[in-house]
C-alpha cells in the first residue's frame, strides 16, 4: 500500500482492538436484541447502556479521548421488532452530563433532551427510557447535551433497528456507521474518517460475503463537522431503502449520499467473486480512512 496504491496508515498498520475494547470487524455483524420478556402479551426488550469516558486508539499511535456508549464507537446496535416495548436503562458512568436521544416516535418526556422530561442525566445518575418500537426502519440514538457537536464528535452515537412485522427476507446483515474524528478539537472538519470506529479496518481485513447471497447493509451517517457523506460500491449496484421505513426500494444505484442523521438500507447480491472496494465517494474522506473491501467468495449460491 501507499504511494500510487492509495492511502494507508504507516506500514499498513492497524490499531490494538483488544486494548480499545471493541473490534469493528465483529461490531459489523453484532445486533443486540436485549433481554426479552413478555408483559401483558407484549414483547418487552431491556438493555443497559453505560456512558463511559475512554481513551481510544483511533489510528495507530493516535489516542482520542472519547465519550462512549458501552465503551465502543459507535455504541451497540439495538434491535427490536415493530410494536415491541423498548426499555433502555441509561447509566452515566462518565464524568460529564449526558442523555440518550432516540430517533423514532415517542412521547416528549422520553426524548432525551435537556429541560424536557428527566432532561440531563448527571454523572453517577441513571434513567430508563421507555418507548414503543416504531416506526419500523433504521434509526439513530445519540447524546443530546450541549455543546451538541462535541458530544457527538466525541463518539456518543449508535443505531437501533426496528424490524417490520414479519421481518425482512433472510440476508447476511451488517451495520455500517459512517463517522469521523476531529483529533485537534478545533471543530474544523476531521482528521480521520471511519466506518464502525476505526479507519481503513476493512482495507486490511476485507468483509467476507458470499457470491449470490443477499447482503443487507444498514447504512448510517452520523458524521460531525462535515455536512454530507456518501457511500459508493465498486462493480455492483444495490437497492436502496431510505430510512428503511418502506419495503419498496427507492433507487437501484451504486452511490448514495446522506446528510448527518440520514440513514438507509442497501441490499446487494454480488454476481462476481473477488475484491470490491467500497468507500465514501467524497474522495477526501476515503483517503482519510473511510474505505474498505468486500471479498466475495464462492459458497452457498442461492
Amino acid at each position: 500500500m501507499g504511494g500510487a496504491n492509495g492511502a494507508t496508515f504507516r506500514g499498513g498498520a492497524g490499531v490494538d482492538h483488544a486494548a480499545n475494547g471493541f473490534d469493528p470487524r465483529t461490531l459489523l455483524r453484532e445486533f443486540d436484541y436485549g433481554t426479552v420478556s413478555t408483559e401483558n402479551g407484549r414483547t418487552v426488550r431491556d438493555w443497559t447502556i453505560r456512558a463511559e469516558d475512554r481513551d481510544i486508539e483511533v489510528a495507530p499511535g493516535v489516542v482520542f479521548p472519547a465519550w462512549t456508549f458501552n465503551g465502543s464507537i459507535p455504541g451497540p446496535t439495538l434491535r427490536a421488532t415493530a410494536g415491541d416495548l423498548m426499555r433502555v436503562r441509561f447509566v452515566n458512568d462518565s464524568e460529564h452530563p449526558h442523555t440518550m436521544h432516540f430517533h423514532g416516535i415517542h412521547p416528549a418526556d422520553m426524548d432525551g433532551v435537556p429541560m424536557v422530561g428527566r432532561g440531563i442525566i448527571s454523572p453517577g445518575e441513571e434513567f430508563t427510557y421507555v418507548f414503543d418500537a416504531e416506526p419500523f426502519g433504521l434509526h439513530l440514538y445519540h447524546c443530546h447535551v450541549g455543546p451538541l457537536a462535541e458530544h457527538i464528535a466525541r463518539g456518543m452515537y449508535g443505531t437501533f433497528i426496528v424490524d417490520p412485522p414479519g421481518g425482512r427476507p433472510p440476508a447476511d446483515e451488517m451495520i455500517m456507521v459512517q463517522h469521523g474524528y476531529n483529533t485537534t478539537f478545533d471543530g474544523e472538519g476531521n482528521q480521520l474518517y471511519a466506518v464502525n470506529g476505526i479507519p481503513f479496518v476493512y482495507m486490511n481485513d476485507p468483509i467476507q460475503v458470499r457470491r449470490g447471497e443477499l447482503v443487507r447493509i444498514y447504512l448510517v451517517n452520523i458524521l460531525e463537522y462535515d455536512p454530507i457523506n456518501s457511500f459508493h460500491l465498486h462493480g455492483n449496484f444495490f437497492d436502496y431503502y431510505p430510512t428503511g421505513t418502506r419495503l419498496e426500494p427507492s433507487e437501484f444505484t451504486d452511490t448514495v449520499i446522506q446528510a448527518q442523521g440520514q440513514r438507509g438500507i442497501c441490499e446487494i447480491r454480488f454476481p462476481y467473486p473477488g475484491k470490491f472496494m467500497f468507500h465514501a465517494h467524497k474522495s477526501e474522506f476515503a483517503d482519510l480512512g473511510w474505505m474498505g473491501f468486500f471479498d466475495v467468495v464462492d459458497g452457498a449460491e442461492s
Binding site: G3, A7, F9, G12, P60, G61, V62, F185, Q191, E284
Partner: protein, 425 residues
C-alpha cells in the same frame, strides 16, 4: 533619583577627580578585604563556588517540586529544517523545538494518509529525525504535509511548489559557485571601475558618494534584518529564533570593531588619510562581503527547494543591485593609488562570500543557521556605517548633514530599493 544620577553623570567629564571620588568607597572596601589577610582569596572563591553549587543543587532537587505539575496537554512543536523532494517521495528533516517529546503517529499529504518511514520513536526536545513519505507528488504543485501526533495534534508543513531537490554533487556546487561569482564578485569589481572618475572629483562629491554608500548599506542592513527575522521564524525558535539574528549582529559588530582597532594599531606611522581610507575600504568590503554571504544563502537555499528560477533577469537584477556595492568600496580610496591587486583583493573580500553562501545555502538549508548568518551581515554593515559617518562631515563648515549628503543618503536608499525590485527571488 534620576536627578542625582544625571548630576553625577554630568560631573564625570567635567572634573576627572569626581570619578575617583565616586570609586573611592569601592576601592576602600577592596583594600579592607585584602587587608584582613587572614583568609586567602582562593579560599573565599572556593567557598563561594561551593555555596553556589549547593544552593543551585538544592533548588534543582527540591525547589522544582514546589511548582505544581503543568496543566493542560503537552506542548508539541516540530520545525521542518529541510525538505528533500525525490521521485515518488518527500523527505522532511524534523526538529522538536518544543518542551515535550513529540511522537509522529501518522502523516497525511493533501488530505490523504501516506506510508512513511522514520521517527519510530518520539522525538525528544531539540532532537532531530527524518521522515520519508511515499507520495506521488507532481511537478510544481503545492503540498500540505500534516503530521498527526500521538495526542491527535496536527502539525502542518507547506511545500509551496514541489520540484525535485537537486543532488548536492560536484556539478551542483560548481553551478552555485558560478552563480555566486555572477551575482557577487563580478558586479562588485564592475562597480569599482568608477574609481578613476572619483579621483578627479572634489571632496564634496566624495562626501556625497560616501553618504550614498551609507544609504545603500542602511538599506542592505534593514533588508538583511527582515530576511533574517523571517528565516528565524521558520526555524521554530528552539535555538533562539529572532535572538539568533541579533546575536549574530552583535558578535559580528564586536569582531569587526576589534579587527578595525588591530588594523589601526599596527600602523601608527602611516596615519595619513590614504591609509585610513584603505582601512575603511577593507572594512566596507568585509561588511558587504558578510552581507553577500547572506544573499548567497538565500539564492542557494531557494534553488535547493526549487523556489528559484535561475533566469537571466535574476542574474542581471542581482548584478545591478550589487554593482553599487563596488562603488561603496572605492569611495574612501579617492586620495590614494591602490595597486590593481589590492583592488581585486577588495572585490573578492566583498564578492566571494556570495559563492560560499550559495554553496552553504544549497547544501545545508537550515533556517536557524541562516538566520544567524544574516545577523552577522547586519552587524557587519552597522559597524561599517559607524566607520563611514565621520567621513561625511564637511571639514570647512563642520556640519555632518548638509543637503548634499542628505541627498546622497536618500539616493542610496532609493537605488537599493529600485535595483532590489529587479530581483524577484
Amino acid at each position: 533619583m534620576s536627578t542625582t544620577e544625571e548630576s553625577r553623570d554630568a560631573e564625570v567629564p567635567r572634573n576627572p577627580d569626581a570619578r575617583v571620588d565616586a570609586e573611592g568607597p569601592k576601592s576602600r572596601a577592596g583594600t579592607r578585604t585584602g587587608g584582613s589577610g587572614r583568609v586567602p582569596l582562593w579560599v573565599l572563591v572556593v567557598g563561594l563556588v561551593a555555596v553556589l553549587v549547593a544552593a543551585l543543587g538544592g533548588l534543582a532537587a527540591y525547589g522544582g517540586q514546589t511548582l505544581p505539575e503543568r496543566l493542560g496537554p503537552p506542548v508539541e512543536e516540530l520545525a521542518v529544517e529541510r525538505t528533500v523532494i525525490a521521485p515518488g517521495s518527500i523527505e522532511l528533516v524534523l526538529r522538536n523545538t518544543g518542551p515535550d517529546p513529540v511522537a509522529v503517529a501518522q502523516v497525511f499529504v493533501n488530505d490523504s494518509y501516506v506510508d512513511f518511514t522514520g521517527a519510530d520513536e518520539p522525538i525528544g526536545r531539540l532532537a532531530a529525525d527524518t521522515l520519508v513519505l511515499n507520495y506521488p507528488w507532481q511537478d510544481g504543485q503545492p503540498y500540505t504535509v500534516s503530521m498527526l501526533t500521538s495526542t491527535g495534534l496536527v502539525i502542518e508543513h507547506v511545500v509551496d511548489a514541489a520540484v525535485a531537490t537537486p543532488e548536492p554533487g560536484f556539478e551542483f556546487l560548481g553551478l552555485m559557485a558560478l552563480v555566486g561569482t555572477y551575482v557577487g564578485v563580478l558586479p562588485v569589481l564592475l562597480g569599482m571601475l568608477v574609481l578613476p572618475i572619483l579621483r578627479r572629483t572634489s571632496g564634496r562629491v566624495v562626501r556625497v558618494l560616501l553618504a550614498l554608500t551609507v544609504g545603500l548599506l542602511a538599506y542592505l542592513a534593514l533588508d538583511a534584518l527582515l530576511e533574517g527575522l523571517e528565516l528565524a521564524a521558520l526555524s521554530g525558535g528552539a535555538f533562539g529564533g529572532p535572538v539568533l539574528v541579533f546575536l549574530g549582529a552583535g558578535l559580528a559588530f564586536l569582531a569587526l570593531t576589534t579587527i578595525d582597532k588591530v588594523l589601526a594599531g599596527r600602523r601608527p606611522d602611516e596615519r595619513d588619510a590614504g591609509s585610513a581610507g584603505m582601512r575603511l575600504a577593507v572594512m566596507i568590503a568585509i561588511g558587504i562581503g558578510l552581507h553577500n554571504l547572506g544573499e548567497g544563502l538565500v539564492i542557494g537555499s531557494a534553488y535547493a527547494v526549487g523556489e528559484l528560477a535561475l533566469g537571466a533577469a535574476l542574474i542581471v537584477g542581482f548584478a545591478a543591485h550589487n554593482t553599487t556595492e563596488g562603488l561603496a568600496i572605492v569611495a574612501p580610496l579617492t586620495t590614494r593609488r591602490p595597486s590593481l591587486w589590492s583592488l581585486v583583493g577588495l572585490g573578492l573580500i566583498a564578492g566571494a562570500p556570495a559563492i560560499l553562501g550559495a554553496v552553504i545555502g544549497a547544501s545545508v538549508d537550515n533556517a536557524g543557521l541562516s538566520a544567524l548568518l544574516f545577523g552577522v551581515g547586519v552587524g557587519a554593515i552597522v559597524q561599517v556605517i559607524i566607520q563611514i559617518v565621520p567621513g561625511l562631515r564637511d571639514r570647512t563648515s563642520g556640519r555632518l548633514l548638509d543637503p548634499a549628503t542628505l541627498g546622497g543618503l536618500g539616493a542610496g536608499v532609493v537605488i537599493m530599493y529600485l535595483t532590489g525590485l529587479l530581483v524577484a527571488a
